[in-house]
């Protein structure tokens, strides 16, 4: 996230991020307390090899920020920019659905500027 918006790091020059706030997967949890999206991926087996997972989680963060109650179709469309070879996307969608429900009904920690 660059100032709270999801970006692809490979298309942002470092100089463009001068003075901005960058949040990566390592910054999502609140100390030992996992973010609901991280928990969702864990509970629903939304990862296997884990390589796409940081990107999927950050993209999901953006998705849910803009649309806290997405339909299945909206989740799939919202994640179309991230590819996964292991999961067939099914449990990733379930993870986001689970996270969305927790975030709607419980407290969640804000992350980064511009939220």
């Amino acid at each position: 996230m660059l100032n709270g918006e999801a970006v692809k790091s490979c298309t942002i020059l470092a100089v463009q991020a001068d003075g901005d706030e960058v949040t990566t997967i390592e910054g999502l949890a609140n100390g030992e307390i996992l973010h609901p999206i991280q928990n969702g991926f864990w509970e629903k087996h939304g990862l296997q090899c884990g390589f796409c997972t940081p990107g999927m989680i950050m993209a999901s963060y953006q998705l849910l920020k803009n649309n806290p109650n997405p339909s299945e179709e909206e989740i799939r469309k919202g994640l179309e920019g991230n590819i996964c070879r292991c999961t067939g996307y099914q449990n990733i969608v379930r993870a986001v659905q689970s996270a969305a429900e927790h975030m709607r009904t419980g407290a969640s920690e804000p992350v980064g500027a511009g939220d």
Partner: protein, 778 residues
């Protein structure tokens, strides 16, 4: 009161905390003091002679430490390993080569030289400074043309591109065919393309090699599926004794079979490290992954089925043509022969089967194992055959399948193509899938006239596959697996396994297995893998063997320690060992549960030894090796419903039901994940994916711009169910499930799309333009 059993329940994974927090270590995460970077110069031609290579400008570029070509490797690095070099030509050298091209390049991406530099950008820049004088040659690209006399030859000295023709006598099948026709039946024929695809794991390949010159110790970190085989073969290749090579496989971002291999870049990084005495890292970029990591599938199959008017198939004849690509990697030459040919009968009781095979070199990347490795091709050809039979006779495809299925009382069943299937109930799986998807309702719905512009299609795939590699004779170095289990004085358990999971989840399922066996929480069990120094000799993760073979070794080791603990507990309880039982984490005398000692107390006694009986060996550690006596045969039925848009040719998967039988399930969550991912790859091959070379051997699909990977919006929620038919092949009753989803799915989608368009068959991939043309020609 004890610990609730976890086996068979959907436990969330031990692996996940490090992966969901960005704390896992993949090869590219590793940095070492003084580490250098390797970049590879690759052939831009599909086929060319190398007249000269001038590396002077590259060598002189600031930051470049060394540049190496094949000449530098002479006498120091051996050929890329091939597990089973087949006669008559491969065993003499056809298709073999060292890590860098010599004299000729034979595929786009063929490694020609390497640059070692201070950083990866300098290395990559310097690669462009190497001047190679190529003389382009005509390329052999079309598989069937490559077999013909007069085709451009990859290995001129052999006079052909056909590395091994297998054409047994046809007397028996000819007679069956003649009899069937004489009795009013017919021969149904087809020519099928099972196209070349890229495994495309999310993490590309990568390796770090570090060599300590003083004592000649070579350390390798590689994104691999086979730590022990890599160590064994790489040691031989770089001419070091095996005990001086240490391989560690860190986190691996997907493999799907393409990392079940020993690649040129691993030997090259090792060579550079040995020359320079500094760590050398190589990370593959995505276009290299498309050009130079092995490709999967790539067969042409001719099929002929002799059927009577009732749809009973009396004889089946296949000709499998396998495109090897230009060189041999580890299993390239045996994929079709060892894994397609034996499974061409599928789930069906076919009295006479004939299989011919040609394996052929072409100017493309080497092919090798990719999820299913030969069995998706077998399933595709027999399932398409059954659909073609149904189509020719005007029968429902489910009816033809039920007519021909091996009956559930016939197991173990010897297929006429060769293997003995362990257990199965094919009709049950099909009927269950039909019920779940309301097959009758769907067919009725299909008959109704539609006002929209969509065509509805239904496709069925009933598959059986051979896996759980393996028994004697299936794999050249043996298909056994090793496990070392150590119980410490605190009662915690270390499990070291020779398998190498890269997403399959055995850190969780093996902890469940061992925890349940001892009646201790699974949190007390740590499962380790990937390091050849600490794990027993193993054969890695592929061929759906991790749990069936690897888990069985773990189980046997745990049982052995349980027996020893009973002896120790008996001494502590002053009882006879044969009277001692372990229940709920406590050892007691059968019938007297009030007098007991805990698991932890026995572990402490074993490891502190002062209170052990005289003659009792201290410690609780054992290594077990498990070798199955046969393969296992998972099976199932997938039914797919598609809607094809008449105006765009796009296919939407409306419903997908999968009923799979992998025997006993240790963790249903993990099983479902494997099936989901496998189905996605099968869908990918059927509709979206395909590696394409032009006539000159230029790779046209070298990025995700041109190679269509399936994405999230392209799937519905897959509906999974299962039957459970345990196997006797291993003590766990597990058949394996890693590849089944991919094997079962591709024919179901292919059948559904053909059904939607009302044609008997369409070749894959079923891209929108292809379907649109067919629709608009009708």
């Amino acid at each position: 009161m004890g610990i609730a059993a976890t086996l068979g329940t959907p436990v969330k994974r031990r692996e996940d905390p490090r992966l969901i927090t960005g704390q896992a270590t993949y090869v590219d995460d590793m940095k070492m003091l003084g580490m250098l970077h390797m970049s590879v110069l690759r052939s831009p031609y599909g086929h060319a002679r190398i007249n000269s290579i001038n590396t002077e400008e590259a060598r002189n570029h600031p930051g470049v430490i060394a540049v190496y070509t094949a000449a530098d490797l002479k006498g120091k690095v051996g050929n890329i390993p091939v597990a089973a070099p087949l006669p008559p030509y491969i065993d003499k050298g056809m298709g073999r080569r060292g890590p860098l091209a010599e004299g000729k390049v034979r595929f786009y991406g063929d490694p020609v030289a390497i640059v070692i530099a201070d950083d990866k950008y300098t290395a990559r820049d310097a690669v462009d400074l190497i001047d190679v004088d190529y003389e382009p040659l005509p390329a052999a690209i079309d598989l069937e043309k490559a077999m013909q006399p007069g085709a451009p030859l990859l290995y001129e000295e052999y006079g052909t591109n056909v590395a091994l023709p297998i054409h047994p006598p046809t007397d028996a099948i000819d007679k069956v065919f003649a009899d069937v026709v004489a009795n009013g039946g017919m021969i149904v024929k087809g020519r099928l393309i099972n196209q070349r695809v890229a495994p495309a794991p999310m993490e590309t390949r990568g390796v770090i090699a570090d060599y300590r010159k003083s004592d000649k110790m070579l350390n390798i970190w590689s994104s691999s599926q086979i730590p022990h085989l890599l160590r064994n073969y790489l040691a031989e290749q770089v001419k070091l004794p095996q005990h001086q090579v240490h391989v560690v496989v860190p986190e691996v971002g997907g493999g799907f079979g393409c990392k079940l291999n020993i690649y040129p870049e691993e030997a090259l990084a090792a060579f550079a490290a040995m020359q320079l005495g500094k760590p050398v890292k190589w990370i593959e970029d995505r276009s290299e992954s498309f050009s130079s990591t092995i490709h999967g599938r790539d067969q042409i199959n001719y099929i002929e089925a002799a059927t009577d008017q009732n749809g009973k198939v009396h004889g089946f004849k296949v000709h499998v043509i396998s495109d090897l690509g230009s060189y041999l990697q580890f299993f390239t030459d045996v994929i079709a022969i060892a894994f397609t040919l034996p499974m061409v009968d599928g789930c069906y009781d076919i009295p006479v089967t004939y299989a011919a095979c040609d394996i052929v070199f072409t100017n493309k990347a080497p092919t090798d194992a990719y999820r299913g490795a030969g069995r998706p091709e077998a399933t595709y050809l027999i399932e398409r055959a059954m659909d073609l039979v149904a189509n020719a006779l005007g029968k429902d495809p489910t009816e033809v399948r039920l007519t021909n299925f091996v009956k559930s009382e016939s197991f173990p069943y010897k297929a006429s193509a060769g293997p003995v299937y362990d257990s199965g109930d094919y009709a049950l799986a099909l009927e269950k899938a039909m019920e779940l998807i309301d097959y009758k309702g769907l067919r009725a719905q299909q008959k109704q006239k539609r006002t929209d512009n969509k065509l509805l299609g239904i496709g069925i795939s009933s598959y059986v596959e051979i896996c759980g590699l393996g028994p004697k004779g299936v794999l050249p170095d043996g298909g056994f697996e090793g496990a070392r289990v150590r119980i410490e004085q605190t009662g915690t358990v270390h499990v070291y396994t020779g398998i190498s999971p890269h997403g399959q989840g055995q850190e969780t399922s093996f902890a469940q297995l061992v925890g349940d066996e001892f009646g201790i929480p699974m949190e007390s069990v740590l499962v380790l893998h990937g390091d050849t120094d600490s794990t027993p000799e193993g054969r890695g993760t592929y061929g759906s063997r991790g749990t069936s073979v690897g888990g069985s070794a773990v189980y046997n080791a745990a049982l052995r320690l349980k027996e020893k603990m009973k002896q120790i507990a008996a001494h502590m309880l002053e009882a006879s060992a044969s009277d001692v039982v372990l229940e709920g984490g406590e050892f007691s005398v059968a019938g007297s549960p009030q007098k007991s000692v805990t698991f932890n107390a026995v572990a402490a006694a074993a490891n502190s030894s002062n209170t052990l009986a005289p003659g009792m060996e201290p410690g609780l550690e054992t290594t077990a090796f498990f070798e199955p006596e046969s393969c296992t045969f998972p099976f199932g039925t997938h039914i797919c419903v598609v809607e094809v848009d008449k105006d765009t040719g796009e296919t939407e998967i409306v419903r997908y039901v999968a009923v799979d039988d992998c025997g006993r399930q240790l963790n249903p969550l993990l099983v479902q994940g494997q099936v989901h991912g496998g189905i996605a790859q099968g869908v990918g091959q059927a509709i979206y994916e395909g590696i394409i070379y032009n006539d000159e051997g230029q790779l046209l699909t070298a990025s995700f711009m041109d190679y269509a990977m399936p994405i999230a919006p392209e799937f519905p929620m897959l509906e999974l169910d299962h039957t459970t038919t345990p196997t006797n092949v291993n003590p766990l009753g597990v058949k394996g499930v890693g590849e089944a989803g991919t094997i079962g799915s591709t024919p179901a989608i292919a059948a559904a799309v053909a059904d939607a368009l009302g044609v008997p068959h369409i070749d894959m991939p079923m891209k929108p333009e292809k379907l649109w043309k067919i629709i608009h020609q009708q």
